[in-house]
């Protein structure tokens, strides 16, 4: 068997003529994405950064006001609550939402009876929009006619809780609108599980490993990238979570279920677009920081095998 010659570390390798010809095609195929990114993402992001330092009504020329928008934002009690909520939702997302998705993936990996059907059923909530789910949950948690309270009243007839409109239940009611819909996590992790060579499982069994050891010592470590990707998706979804809140509590009661996108939209309603964009910049930075941290923690840039 011939050895593959690896280039010396740090030494620049000149691409072959064939490779250079391929690069041309690679660049050409990348062009649509790059053009679209520049048009629809990069320019708006630049505009957002620039106008976040201005007082701007969204139409007339922006007027530079330094860090005023950021000072206002960080001293806004609703923003402080938003950050607190984001941390709580992120932790719940990482441990419960992703954990549940991984658990389902591990179960489906063993292909129990009816696993394809279960996977399809598990997929259904994902094709229903977040807005529709919010309204469905509004009915589920309705005090008068909601399924939940009517079930509880079978045991405790005087039970009355306005889940979406009372502290501290509103936070958990919002959490339940997304907590168990982890099909993306399941599919991503299941994909990685399916890609694990069967030889690894056989070797482990021959070495006397039980199923728990195979799962914890082989399967989960080999799904590290998929789990990391899932965590990034989950946490960034929490940063941008808007419909589920707006259509149920609108951030209330009081500011209990506030999230930064709600502050952003509210500012636009008041024609404080500069302030809204400051909130947008903070969301953007939070998203980037989270990605960097998770990339590091999950060692996503290192090869798994």
């Amino acid at each position: 068997m011939s050895k593959i010659k690896m280039p010396d570390k740090g030494k620049r390798v000149r691409a072959s003529k064939l490779e250079r010809r391929d690069y041309k095609w690679i660049y050409l195929f990348l062009l649509p994405s790059v053009v679209m990114f520049l048009m629809f993402y990069f320019v708006p992001i630049l505009t957002m950064f620039f106008t976040s330092f201005t007082k701007w009504d969204g139409f007339n020329a922006p007027v530079f006001n330094g860090l005023d928008n950021y000072t206002r934002l960080f001293s806004n009690p609703a923003f402080v609550i938003s950050v607190r909520n984001l941390i709580a939702w992120s932790l719940i997302g990482i441990f419960l939402h992703v954990g549940f998705g991984v658990l389902v993936a591990l179960i489906l990996y063993h292909k129990p009876r009816g696993w394809k059907f279960t996977r399809a059923v598990f997929m259904i909530p994902n094709v229903i929009s977040a807005a529709a789910w919010a309204l469905i949950y509004k009915f589920i948690f309705n005090n008068e006619m909601g399924v939940l309270n009517n079930l509880i009243r079978m045991i405790s007839p005087d039970f009355n809780v306005q889940w979406f409109y009372t502290s501290p239940y509103a936070f958990w009611a919002i959490t339940f609108t997304w907590l168990f819909y982890a099909v993306i996590v399941t599919l991503v992790v299941l994909g990685d599980l399916m890609a694990i060579p069967e030889e690894l499982n056989e070797a482990a069994r021959i070495d006397g490993a039980n199923q728990w050891q195979i799962t914890t010592r082989i399967h989960l470590p080999l799904c590290r990238n998929a789990i990391g990707t899932s965590i990034i998706c989950t946490v960034t979804s929490r940063v941008a979570m808007y419909e589920a809140i707006q259509l149920t509590t609108a951030g209330g009661p009081g500011d209990d279920t506030m999230n930064t996108p709600l502050i952003l939209v509210k500012a636009i309603m008041d024609m404080n677009n500069g302030y809204a964009n400051a909130a947008g910049v903070v969301m953007f930075l939070i998203g980037v920081i989270i990605m960097v941290i998770i990339n590091k923690v999950m060692k996503m840039n290192e090869p798994v095998y």
């Binding site: 679209m36 048009m39 009081g254 509210k266």
Partner: protein
């Protein structure tokens, strides 16, 4: 070959998207692009279509598209769409208005986006985003000056002077003033609630006492419309309350800690805790209306346009033996009618419309403000035209609609008209913040003083 084909397809995708983005149409609809192409600035080159439409005098048809939320399921569509048809019939061969349905929630955004490109429709509704209209549209000269039209229209005598003054900015009439005012009051189910005297002759305390165990349909979601109308009445009944409501419409207020408002909120808290319908917390307007029309509550506060819901052809909305014929209307306790006469009229015209389109817009404004159309409007959606001598036919027909006749009879020389408290709140506070805080006022998490303090802080933040 495959690579080449794929590249061509990818390039086509990019360029088609770029082309879409380059089109100045925000909605992407065929209709709007047509309208927009016709509403090119007079100072810019006219479009091909506009050039061929050389105005009514030459016999060519002038046609515009009118984006409106008064279409489809919107309650205003019942009167508005036939009105447009009547206009089209009256000016057949000369002018034609095509309706473009826009959801009410997106209307304001659509107009703003079109305004950025100076391609607004010829005719636009006001009242959707007053702050934008005041701070952006008027200073940037988007609104056509209707002064000449106002001075020459035969309908001039009908317009409310307060509205004429309010609509005049820097000597320009930026909206067609309002001719009709539609004071909001309350509706009650006389099958379940029989007040000993007219509600408008009662004090708030008398009114609440007269209810006994009966409930009022309140709501907390969205802008908490029904609850805020009641709060407005409570504020208006406090000393200095009417002045607060009247004096802060233009610039909004961030001071809700004034005694009149704190006292009113204190009363509202008690009423919400004791007399609110069971579904009030979290209810949107539709839930409150549904509660009233299913006999879950006996009173609901709203404007005269709700009369359509009590007509026999709306009986599909009724349940639990509710009968619209039993509904009566009245002004609010303390003889208060909620109406803001110092406001814009319903229509404004784009300054970028062509001459022919401006003529069409003026014809439309003459048409909708004619006595026949105003009377038809008031019969359909209620209201009164203080400067009009009503026809006998109108008076007879108004008497046939119980709630409109009730409201008309309730207005007397002691009636005080005042804006709603939502009119003095910054947009975000009125649209969402107050509704978010009401559940906490109801469950006692917030005292009335805390409620007012937080409302003031939210308003100050919005106005900063």
């Amino acid at each position: 070959m495959k690579k080449l084909l794929a590249l061509v397809m990818a390039a086509a995708l990019v360029f088609s998207m770029a082309a879409c983005a380059g089109n100045n149409t925000s909605s992407g609809s065929k209709e709007s692009s047509k309208t927009e192409s016709k509403t090119e600035s007079k100072t810019e080159s006219k479009t091909e279509e506009s050039k061929t439409s050389e105005g009514g005098d030459s016999g060519k048809l002038v046609e515009i598209n009118l984006p409106t939320f008064k279409a489809g399921e919107n309650v205003g569509a019942v009167f508005f769409l036939p009105q447009v048809e009547r206009f089209n019939k009256m000016y057949e061969g000369k002018y034609k208005i095509n309706i473009e349905e826009v959801p009410q929630a997106s209307y304001s955004e659509k107009i703003k986006q079109l305004a950025q490109q100076k391609k607004m429709p010829v005719l636009m509704h006001t009242g959707v985003d007053n702050e934008w209209f005041k701070k952006v549209a008027i200073p940037n000269g988007f609104a056509y000056d209707l002064t000449d039209w106002y001075n020459n229209t035969p309908t001039k005598k009908f317009f409310i002077q307060d509205s004429v003054e309010y609509s005049t900015r820097d000597g320009k009439l930026v909206t067609a003033p309002a001719a009709v005012t539609r004071p909001m009051g309350l509706f009650y189910n006389s099958d379940l609630y029989k007040p000993e005297k007219a509600v408008h002759d009662m004090t708030v305390d008398e009114f609440i006492a007269s209810l006994g165990d009966s409930k009022i349909a309140f709501q907390t979601a969205d802008n908490a419309w029904c609850s805020m109308l009641f709060l407005s009445d409570l504020v208006a009944n406090e000393e200095g309350g009417i002045e607060i409501l009247k004096n802060n419409v233009d610039d909004k207020t961030s001071d809700f800690n004034q005694p009149a408002i704190v006292n009113a909120v204190t009363k509202l808290q008690k009423i919400l805790q004791e007399n609110a319908s069971a579904n009030s917390v979290g209810a949107a307007y539709a839930d409150a209306a549904n509660n009233f029309m299913s006999e879950g509550s006996v009173v609901i506060l709203n404007g005269p346009w709700m009369s359509a819901d009590f007509a026999p052809d709306s009986s599909d909305k009724w349940s639990n033996n509710f009968d619209g014929a039993n509904v009566h209307a009245d002004l609010l306790p303390g003889n208060i009618g909620l109406a803001n006469t110092r406001g814009w009229g319903e229509w404004w015209v784009s300054a970028y419309a062509t001459d022919e389109e401006i003529e069409l817009a003026k014809a439309w404004l003459d048409f909708v403000n004619s006595q026949e159309e105003l009377e038809a409007y008031m019969l359909a959606e209620g209201g009164s035209c203080p400067n009009m001598e009503y026809s006998e036919n109108f008076l007879a027909k108004q008497g046939e609609t119980q709630v409109l006749a009730d409201l008309s009879a309730a207005i007397n020389d002691k009636t005080q008209f005042t804006p709603s408290i939502l009119d003095i709140m910054p947009t975000s506070v009125g649209e969402t913040e107050v509704g978010k805080m009401l559940p906490q006022l109801i469950d006692g998490t917030l005292t009335p003083e805390q409620f007012c303090e937080q409302l003031s802080a939210k308003a100050a933040d919005a106005l900063a």
